[in-house]
Subunit: 492 residues, 2 copies
């Protein structure tokens, strides 16, 4: 193989880094913590964007764009919000460079200091609610259902490609409502859109739940989330939807006149997913040979590798491939014929496995004689020889099968690593193996904090989408009464 | 009318600002020079993006994403480049805020000063060529054909919505080639993609040409551009494509081994269009009633306004509209039924005229009796009554007609304001009226500079796409020999 990937067992963390860089998804840039998303990685992100954007529009949202910069004073308006973000802000202080009077390079021009510093947005609640103030007068102006696709910056100290980067790409929905009920409904609607996307497109099973107070978004009354399990048993928060109450409306004085003629503060939500989803996608499905992409998000569905010795054979094989390619493209699949002349077919096989292309087709001279082709599945690493006449229909069908198989595999894995835990001894033992621990919790931040200190595990969520765990019981740590089980896990 | 727009004649500049804000396209934000792009404006930009992205991909380009921040030292590597951008840079100097020890707000934490300042990208040549250095070893790695959709910041002192803002949205293509010829070909190919987009989608006639040295991109050997004429006779540069030679390859030491085994620097191009195109679109077609949108970029193609008195009439009219809407949507058109109950139909007519919706359909009780509808064209402000049975086919056809008519109108306008000028006296007189002056120029920056000082006119471009003006002559200012006419105009 051309580009060795270390095995998951040997070093899971390095395996992930290997995959991201060797499959040409992303790389670190010269700027600390900022990544370059390479064309192959960006093509996957574009597919995610297109599908999510469609789902947002189907649920009545429109896109808009708000400034990259946030005046420092805006951040301070909502007390918890500023506390949450102040420590990791990129701050713009000047607006001009000048030739260094003492050297050759350029330096910051001290005379171009800004009156008020600008923060590169870590999230846009403040600048958006300052804008909504001018858009909202009456109940007739509500709801406002806006989404923005944008880059944001959070100055993280320890970064990892896609999972935690100083700059990342995301979407942030910001909605304004006349009533509390409507805002809560929106918060739930959007977390369910995320869950549907994760399950049906990323083929990643997720738990929908509510965050504990400790893990809430800075400024939210409630944070809903989707949590996925990675192959090392760790949890990854893949999307969040916040019920913000009237916090930002109060901070920016956004009131509306109700139908009844009274004045009231507006209710808010915000919700977002980011390029972190790329990390979830990679870690949920990939194996020691490389990426495994679900067909619905794969930039290339089918790669074809010609096998030949003579020019004549080459010509005949490629002609057959072009014919099949046309048939597959007609069915909406994206097909690439890898006709490079400077690498062997074994190298090509390994490279496309590394890149996670769902199906590989190989055709050689003997296949032409027999009217057969070899079809290999990336998800199972199996291959079969079949009639060339049947291959288009077969491969189209395979896409659904692969999508389903990848999802089921992840679902089974999660089930195998999800434990109902009732004693503190068992908790401490199980958490070392990784996985989701379904436990009773007394509902206090103090207990959660102590469990975190002792085990590095946090409450990933208080599940909302299952009845099984709604039984009452006693806290696994304190023994105090609990209304339902929650999910504890170590997390990314 | 609900939202008055000042007439073009009265105050062209204010007319433009009126349109942008009153048609809900964009507004100024709380951050100096940064705009908020509102949902209706953003929907037009999304249509532009989708079409351009398609054209980029059809010409073999892939999207990628590079960091928002550029280390200060990178900017300095290419001498002309840094000179061009240093004076308008947003500079990040710190990465943390802290609670003000002397007050209530937050202040910049002095201990979180960056070792090297980061510039918010004004354009990405430097960070991208620093990345390409690691991607390119051999001729087999070339060409690299990347594009990025991103936000950029140039700290302009005088800003205008869409036309000149501190932050704007754009795409920037950055390509790397083995030969000079190939890079020049790419530069020309992309300026022609822009021209095609402007003409066929924006319905804006443009001249394709080359910039004079004075107007070149900082760091380019050649800048090609498309120039459009606005209704006040001023020129607007709508897109540029740069041949960068080996400047950035040399600045970042990017060499490749050729087929012959020698080492050579890589050749570069970059090309971009921005949200400035929105300004061009608005100013090229709109009238004193508001926007006039070409159907190919209109978020809503047809608006339907019900006319009724009783509830029964209302119900019947809307039912008919739903039927027609389904038919129009089947043909790929976007249709909105404006069924608001708190404004009159006259208000609605004016509002959708302001928003530039290409076709308006009104149906009243009498129409139902006669099986007719009233169809109004935004571009001509004419209306006709016609059989309801024929309306779907008619409106679908109208879209093409309107697209064509808008283009032709702009083309005729440009022709009427384009003058062949041979004397300096005539130049000074004509330039006051606005328009394109086709003049001979001696080819020196000095003459161009003097003409600019005396008349505020600059060379918009040395046209490439017409034979008419390839005649030789004498410079309109200096009388020295000239090889071809160039276009002088005042510009945005």
């Amino acid at each position: 193989m051309a580009k060795e990937v270390i095995s998951r067992e040997e070093n899971y963390s390095q395996w992930y880094n290997n995959l991201v860089t060797k499959a040409d998804l992303a790389e670190n840039s010269a700027v600390r913590g900022c990544m370059v998303i390479k064309p192959y990685g960006y093509a996957i992100w574009e597919k995610m964007q297109a599908q999510l954007d469609k789902m947002f529009k189907e649920t009545g949202h429109q896109n808009a764009y708000f400034p990259l910069f946030i005046p420092k004073s805006f951040l301070s308006r909502e007390a918890e919000h500023v506390e949450g973000f102040a420590k990791e802000c990129a701050v713009v202080t000047h607006h001009r460079l000048m030739v260094d009077p003492e050297g050759t390079g350029v330096v910051v021009d001290p005379s171009a200091k800004l009156e008020e510093e600008l923060i590169v947005r870590p999230t846009s609640e403040t600048i958006i609610w300052n804008t909504y103030k001018n858009w909202i007068t009456s109940y007739r102006d509500l709801p406002i259902l806006c989404n923005q696709w944008a880059n944001v910056v959070r100055w993280e100290m320890r970064t990892r490609l896609f999972l935690r980067t100083a700059e990342f790409l995301w979407q942030e929905g910001h909605t304004a409502h006349a009533t509390k009920e409507e805002a809560i409904e929106e918060t739930e609607k959007m977390v369910n859109v995320y869950a549907k996307f994760a399950r049906e497109y990323m083929a990643v099973p997720v738990v929908v739940g509510k965050k504990s107070a400790n893990e809430r978004f800075a400024g939210a009354l409630d944070t809903l989330c989707i949590e996925a399990m990675m192959q090392d048993g760790k949890a990854l928060q893949a999307g969040t939807s916040h019920f913000l109450g009237q916090n930002f409306a109060k901070a920016f004085d956004v009131k509306y006149s109700t139908k009844e003629g009274t004045l009231d503060y507006v209710w808010a939500t915000s919700w977002g997913v980011s390029t972190r989803l790329m990390g979830a996608l990679i870690m949920a499905h990939s194996d020691d040979c490389g990426l495994v992409l679900p067909p619905k998000l794969a930039p290339i569905h089918v790669v074809m590798v010609p096998i030949f010795k003579t020019d004549e054979e080459h010509k005949a094989v490629v002609a057959k491939m072009e014919e099949l390619k046309a048939g597959l493209e007609k069915s909406g699949l994206s097909v690439k014929i890898d006709d490079r002349d400077n690498v062997r077919s074994g190298f090509k096989f390994a490279e496309w496995e590394l890149k996670g292309v769902p199906v590989r087709i190989a055709i050689g001279p003997r296949d032409l004689q027999n009217n057969t082709v070899e079809v290999a599945r990336r998800d199972t690493l199996t291959k079969e020889s079949m009639s060339a006449d049947a291959v288009v229909a077969h491969v189209v069908e395979l896409m659904d099968k692969i999508q389903e198989n990848i999802y089921n595999k992840a679902l089974e894995f999660r089930a195998s690593k999800t434990y109902v835990v009732d004693t503190w001894e068992e908790f401490k033992e199980k958490i070392e193996e990784g996985g989701f621990l379904l436990c009773h919790w007394d509902g206090t931040p103090e207990t959660e904090e102590k469990i975190k200190e002792e085990t590095k595990a946090t409450i990933r969520c208080i599940p909302m989408d299952t009845n099984v765990i709604m039984e009452e019981g006693k806290c696994v740590y304190s023994g105090k009464p609990s209304k339902q089980r929650v999910i504890f896990a170590r997390s990314y």
